[in-house]
């Protein structure tokens, strides 16, 4: 155990930082495309934590959960980009604020 060793905590910290950056970006940005990318950042931070725990405890279930997260993220991006296309086609300079018009 001598010297520097990459521990599980390093990965968890990096995952938390990614989640944090993504969440802050989601809150401060108003371009719907960038907001979707920030959601991806948050999901990836969580995925990294899952894999770190899976490696740590030698348990394959973390990998399975990450696969499901990938699938759900893909579906989320597809629907989100469809919404963005529909909204931006109607008004090319729409921001997230303009989505309040969807309340009807």
């Amino acid at each position: 155990m001598s010297g520097l060793e990459v521990t599980t905590g390093w990965y968890l910290t990096l995952g938390a930082m990614l989640f944090l950056i993504g969440g802050t970006g989601l809150l401060v940005r108003r371009n719907p495309l960038i907001m979707l990318m920030c959601v991806e950042l948050m999901l990836n931070g969580v995925n990294l934590s899952f894999i770190a725990f899976a490696d740590r405890f030698g348990d394959v279930h973390g990998h399975t959960v990450v696969l499901f997260v990938l699938v759900v993220a893909a579906a989320e991006v597809v629907v989100g980009l469809g919404l963005v296309v529909a909204v931006l086609r109607a008004s090319p300079r729409a921001t997230a604020d303009d989505l309040s018009a969807l309340k009807g």
Partner: protein, 217 residues
């Protein structure tokens, strides 16, 4: 030592990419920064013995999702529209500050405490369980080396969730087709031509119109 270097390089790429996504004004740059983050995470997955997940990460995220993002950016022409950073709403600003500071506090706690709670790596865990020597090497490197274990858990424990994801994907595809389709109206061709022309003209005008009140930070 190699692991430390790999972690440092990949982690730095992840963080730089993440900050770049949040800060870049051009959506195309943001998408490319996202690719950098995703590749960094894929490298870390390899370092964590998750080879299959790393491959899926590159194929699905970098290969499909980011391409989808870029496609939409190019399709809509919002890369030239640059950014809409007209200053955040006050409530938004406060929420973001609270989230950022609270998260940073948690992060500090994590850095301080995590090595105490989750001490060491997998080899440490094995050592504590009394598995040492060649046996520990095999257990540490070979436990997930194949996708058999993953497939077994996916198609046994999680088989219902797996089937549900197929339903989810079908619903997502149909929903997107309905959302992104241009509505041509019920009476077919005449309405569609007229509608398309009008829409194209209006969008053309909007793109070329000067934007005097476009403020950038």
């Amino acid at each position: 030592m190699v692991e430390v270097v790999v972690f440092a390089v990949a982690g730095a790429a992840c963080l730089v990419g993440a900050v770049g996504v949040v800060l870049s004004r051009n959506p195309v740059h943001a998408a490319l920064m996202l690719v950098m983050t995703l590749f960094g995470i894929a490298v870390l997955f390899v370092a964590l013995q998750a080879h299959f997940i790393a491959a899926v990460q590159v194929i699905v995220y970098a290969g499909a999702i980011v391409v989808l993002f870029l496609f939409v950016i190019m399709l809509l022409g919002v890369d030239r529209a640059a950014e809409l950073s007209m200053g955040a709403l006050p409530a938004q600003r406060w929420t973001a500050a609270a989230f950022g500071l609270g998260g940073a506090a948690v992060l500090v706690w994590l850095v301080a405490a995590v090595d105490r709670i989750f001490k060491g790596t997998r080899s440490y865990e094995l050592e504590r369980a009394g598995i040492v020597g060649a046996e520990a090497d095999a257990a540490a490197t070979g436990y997930l080396a194949d996708v058999n274990a993953l497939a077994r858990s996916l198609f046994s424990d999680y088989v219902y969730a797996f089937e549900l994801t197929s339903l989810l994907l079908i619903v997502a595809v149909i929903g997107t087709v309905i959302l992104a389709r241009r509505s041509y109206g019920a009476d077919g061709r005449r309405a569609s031509q007229h509608g398309a022309d009008g829409r194209r003209a209006s969008r053309h005008g909007a793109e070329n119109a000067p934007e005097p009140q476009e403020t950038r930070q």
